[in-house]
Symmetry: C2
Subunit: 221 residues, 2 copies
Amino acid sequence: MNRLYHYPLSPFSRKVRLALGEKRIEVELVEERYWEQGIEFLRRNPAGQVPVLRMNGRHYCDSQAICEYLDEAVPTPPLFPRDTEGRYEVRRLCAWFDDKFHREVTAKLMGERVFKKLRGGGVPDSAAVKAGSRDIKTHLGYMTFLLESRRWLAGNDMTLADFAAAAQLSCLDYVSDVPWDKYEAVKDWYAKIKSRPAFRSILADQVPGFRPAVHYADLDF
Amino acid sequence: MNRLYHYPLSPFSRKVRLALGEKRIEVELVEERYWEQGIEFLRRNPAGQVPVLRMNGRHYCDSQAICEYLDEAVPTPPLFPRDTEGRYEVRRLCAWFDDKFHREVTAKLMGERVFKKLRGGGVPDSAAVKAGSRDIKTHLGYMTFLLESRRWLAGNDMTLADFAAAAQLSCLDYVSDVPWDKYEAVKDWYAKIKSRPAFRSILADQVPGFRPAVHYADLDF
């Protein structure tokens, strides 16, 4: 049986769960408190991060490397378009959400208010939380700009870029940190992706000590 | 003419310069003080980072997305092996050096002592410098481990993973921050990659206010 070592509120784990779900690759989910850096876990991934995918007896890590691997090993349905320019745009946007959005928004809002509590790291830094709350608006504005001329974020087909973005936003949505009402186009896009079968297990996630927002699992939020 | 907006001591710019050089794609290099975030530069790349490649009238950004694009658009010589497992390993290691090595080592050593000075950001944080000096040894140890069973970092052929690693290390080597002598296998690997024609322009880099280490451009260092 394939296995995914993950953490429910890890956006990178969610990105891989969405890719696996879309490709109908079944995995056993194993929750990993990766910040405790157990020796067994470090053997599976010396980088000490989730997700780690065990597939065909091997371990795979880094969410982008895993998704590129899955797309080459199991090509249908594709996570990338066929043309080189379109593939570039998907990768550019994956990096945008994995790096820039995560650093400017998710790491600040989730990092300060959820992971600090989970790890016992002290009180949230209010300046960081404030910066995250400010910067999410810039990102939602950028997504609105993209969605003005495209059905999905990287073009007219759903791709890995949509999963990378939805992975970040769904974690923030769990703790009710997304001001959807001011960004109708992004809300519509999220409602579309939220209704994919691949999203179901994510909407069922529960983290002790953090109750999900009332609308979190609601498809007509 | 193709053009690369870059900064000499940006490892991500160097990674793309190495990929371009290996593929013999000529570009005009335009130095960009990207942290000043001019409006023209943000139009080329809303993420506000270097490198940005202008090619065939379009702009491309994010070093990994650019290199993947170059490899698809100009397949020879390849930056990745042909097999899926091998391609995964290259991408895993690119993420290792671009994310983990950069965050734990380059951002601490270069960020504190070079970029803070360039940007006028105050005195170096000595705890960060100390952590970077400690963690580079762990990374050089990991590279030694990889090179025990491989000729290059990701396997027996030179790939983008080698460029990602050499891009980080060559920046640190400019300011003499690499304890080569204790890591012979890594030193031998670096001497091999340093002698590639693609490396020449990198060895000629000069940053005002920071003189390169004496051995920096020496192929028999």
